[in-house]
């Protein structure tokens, strides 16, 4: 196990190195000038001389490889650089955004699980019955509705009609509820479908048929065998979803004024704020690899045969 983890960590370093070089290269080749974006952000144009001086100040006139090497050297020293947009350090921005995104991601994931797990279970056990149709309808609707529509509908319902939440959300628990629910609904739709499908597969396995023939109680089979055997698959789905959620949700964060990393990165892309984008890429690369590693470890603990 330790050997496996060490191997993954070494792989992570290589992945991050390749990833950072590729992203740095893509940004270098892509059209767009951080200096121009910064100076003309309000629609006021500036002279060529002012623009050139700003490019010089931001170090944009240096060769690509020198810029990348400098950036890498600083990152290895723990310095993610200064934002091209406002000259503020990148690391605190990313930490602040990530912290908010983690809260939103975990809350929405939790909500999605408590909706989808019972629904998927019921739907699988009651396959073809009314409850199955309802669960599938929810799954279909949840999957089909775009995030922004769910957000606005929820806002209208809870803020204007029922008036239990304010439109102007803040960093409090109350402010977290609607954005978390907006993210959770489509996620729950997907989870319900996947859990249902996995459980139906398991329920049709020969071991279940055999146990039923041996008159083992259905509840016992469901809890001790079917659910247990399905956990690995479900865990993989959750792991992948966490990775996606950590990238932030620009739409939800913008609508609910949630200062997460998704909005930060989208604003940074618009402003061609390369140091922030590079920091984000490194963090997200690490998160993806680490989450996959954790999922693998748990998966193997649940099913020692996979060692």
């Amino acid at each position: 196990m330790a050997k496996q983890i060490l191997k993954r960590v070494l792989g992570l370093v290589l992945i991050l190195l390749v990833l950072s070089f590729m992203v740095f290269g893509i940004m270098y080749l892509a059209p767009g000038d951080p200096a121009e974006k910064r100076l003309t952000s309000q629609g006021v144009v500036v002279t060529k001389e002012i623009l050139q001086a700003e490019r010089e100040r931001l170090g944009l006139l240096r060769p690509f490889i020198v810029r990348y090497a400098d950036w890498l050297k600083n990152v290895l020293r723990g310095d993610f650089g200064i934002s091209f947009k406002d000259d503020l350090p990148v690391a605190p921005k990313l930490i602040k955004g990530l912290k908010n995104t983690i809260w939103l991601a975990l809350s929405s994931l939790f909500l999605a699980l408590i909706i989808s797990f019972p629904l998927g279970l019921l739907s699988a056990v009651k396959k073809g019955k009314l409850v199955d149709h309802i669960a599938r309808l929810f799954s279909f609707i949840g999957n089909s509705l775009p995030n922004f529509l769910i957000s606005v509908l929820l806002m209208y319902l809870f803020c204007i009609q029922i008036k239990v939440f304010p439109v102007i959300a803040d960093g409090s628990v109350k402010g977290l509820m609607l954005p978390a629910l907006s993210l959770a609904i489509p996620m729950a739709g997907r989870f319900t479908r996947q859990i249902r499908s996995e459980l139906i597969d398991q329920l049709g396995e020969e071991y279940v048929v055999g146990m039923k023939l041996r008159r083992v109680k259905g509840r016992f089979i469901l809890i001790n065998n079917v659910l247990r055997n399905s956990l690995g698959h479900i865990l993989t789905i959750i792991g992948l979803q966490i990775g996606t959620l950590m990238g932030g949700s620009v739409v939800i964060e913008s609508i609910f004024r949630w200062p997460g990393i998704g909005k930060l990165v989208m604003d940074s892309i618009t402003a061609r704020d390369y140091p922030v984008i590079m920091g984000f890429v490194l963090i997200m690369g690490t998160i993806y690899v680490v989450i996959n590693l954790i999922v693998d470890i748990i998966y193997r603990l649940l099913d020692p045969r996979s060692f």
Partner: protein, 532 residues
């Protein structure tokens, strides 16, 4: 039995979720209390308190939404001064009024004599801490602005002296007729440089409001400056919520959480216009211009003229549902330098011109000449409704027999503006940043200017631009500007399509939120009020 089990399972998960949700939430609250977001939390939580307090004590607190938020309140840096001006915290020596004229504010007068400007400060101007604004402090501010903001670095070349406490003499070395207008820019706001210890979070300025709470890139709360030099301030305070999206702003207006905001979307406008008993909507042409450049190097005179006779700005403005006003020239028609004329839309004449130039209408309804279809490339970028504009122009041109291909770029400056590889290029910029026409004319019409990429060249025009650079008489400047722009219009070098409207929605009883000023950088002031 199975049913009972499933019901119990469902109930258990729900109970667990509630419990866990609560604890997670508490954890989060505890966490955020140590961060900046706490301030946001407190601000919003305070809002409820503010509202109840306003009811209890009769305090007038205005709640509004701001589409942008910045990490600092340093008036001189970047465009942060635009926002300190909107918040009513900072003021410049002059301000721009409804007619786009620079009128007195902290200074009462600015008189030019050749390259020497004499600026006299208003009587009794002082900062919120009571310290008077002196001529020395003005000079220090302008010098700081020159070092902190590259757009104002030229101020560093001027020689400034204080002849007494209220008089500043600025030697611009060469005749510089727009200094008064430049000094009306919000970046020229005055800070008490001696008393301010934290420029990013609490600058000491002269405005009718003082910052009480500032969340970097978040909400801002201001309170009445009890010591305001300009007299009584009607509001007790204001809260600016950072809200980028249109729908939440509309819902916040409907729920009563905000009292007014500007940059109203066309969809929201429809809603507000249906409730005139609840809301006032004020819409005036602003300073942000949508225009196109016609490439004289690739399009002959007849085609350019036909295009300009075909593009129907009124229909485009109508399609954009009140967010844009059809433009005549680049400047607001209410400005003295916005008096130009354009021929009326006349598609029959456009066709005649093309036919007189040798074009014949093909079987597919597209003109052709020498076996070549008349097809132009339209370059645009997807912002400021330019994507919609491109499609509408394409449709209008096709209706008279001019085919076109659309080409979208993410960064116009680095692509089609830099390379001039277009027939018609759409662009949007602020045409009037400080109540004077030189900036736009210099950027788009002068020889070799960055946005004069379509081959427009006129010796007469250039000569008048040189004259405009040194002319100090406002009326003569307006006259020159009108003549210069008219030459460009007559040459069919450009098409000025629309001026973005400054559209403000106010709850009934709210007034004075700069709703009649065409510039983006004004908001609350001493006259902003809530009645009823």
């Amino acid at each position: 039995m199975k049913k009972k089990f499933l019901a119990a399972l469902l109930a258990a998960t729900m109970t667990l979720s509630m419990a866990a949700c609560g604890s997670g939430a508490q954890t989060q609250k505890a966490e955020t209390e140590t961060t900046t977001e706490t301030q946001a939390t407190e601000t919003s939580e305070n809002q409820t308190a503010d509202e109840s307090q306003s009811t209890a004590t009769g305090e007038k607190i205005l709640h509004t939404a701001a589409s942008f938020a910045y990490p600092s309140l340093d008036v001189h840096k970047e465009y942060y001064g635009w926002y300190t001006s909107i918040y009513g915290v900072s003021e410049a020596l002059f301000k721009l009024d409804e007619t786009m004229s620079a009128v007195p504010c902290l200074a009462k007068d600015a008189v030019a004599d050749g390259s020497t400007w004499t600026i006299t400060l208003n009587d009794g101007v002082h900062f919120s801490n009571g310290n008077p604004l002196t001529a020395d402090m003005v000079i220090k501010n302008l010098q700081r602005l020159a070092t902190e903001n590259s757009r104002f670095a030229y101020l560093g070349d001027f020689e400034m002296t204080a002849t007494d406490d209220k008089t500043i003499v600025i030697d611009t070395k060469e005749v510089y007729p727009t200094l008064k207008n430049d000094l009306a820019s919000p970046e020229c706001g005055m800070i008490d440089l001696d008393a301010t210890t934290d420029f990013d979070n609490s600058p000491v300025c002269t405005g009718p409001f003082v910052v009480t709470e500032f969340v970097p890139e978040g909400d801002v709360t201001v309170a009445k400056n009890e010591n305001y030099w300009g007299g009584d301030v009607k509001l007790d305070g204001a809260v600016f919520y950072y809200m980028q999206e249109d729908d939440p702003k509309l819902l916040a207006m409907q729920s009563g959480e905000i009292d007014c905001y500007n940059s109203v979307s066309s969809a929201a406008l429809e809603v507000y216009n249906q409730s005139p008993d609840l809301y006032d909507v004020v819409s005036i042409p602003g300073a942000r211009l949508q225009f196109y450049i016609l490439n004289e190097n690739t399009l002959d005179d007849a085609v350019r003229e036909a295009i300009n006779l075909t593009v129907d700005k009124d229909k485009i403005a109508e399609y954009l549902s009140g967010t844009v006003s059809a433009a005549v020239g680049p400047f607001s028609p209410s400005a003295a330098y916005g008096k130009v004329t354009v021929p009326a839309v006349d598609t029959a004449k456009a066709k005649e011109i093309l036919e007189a130039d040798g074009y014949t209408l093909g079987a597919d309804g597209i003109y052709e000449k020498d076996g070549q279809k008349l097809s132009i490339s339209i370059a645009y970028y997807a912002a400021r409704s330019l994507d919609t504009l491109a499609i509408l122009i394409q449709e209008q041109l096709k209706a008279i027999g001019i085919d076109s291909t659309l080409r979208v770029e993410e960064d116009p400056d680095a692509t089609y503006i830099a390379n001039a590889d277009f027939d018609l290029a759409l662009y949007c910029m602020i045409a009037d940043k400080s109540g004077d026409p030189l900036y736009f004319i210099d950027s788009t019409l002068a020889d070799g200017s960055y946005y004069n990429v379509g081959g427009f060249k006129s010796a007469e025009c250039q000569s008048m631009i040189e004259e405009l650079r040194t002319e100090t008489d406002t009326a003569k400047r307006a006259d020159l500007a009108n003549k210069i722009v008219q030459i460009a219009i007559d040459d069919n070098a450009f098409g000025y399509v629309g001026l973005f409207n400054n559209t403000t929605v106010l709850r009934k009883g709210v007034s004075g939120f700069a709703e009649y000023v065409p510039f983006d950088f004004y908001g609350v002031d001493a006259e902003t009020d809530i009645n009823g």
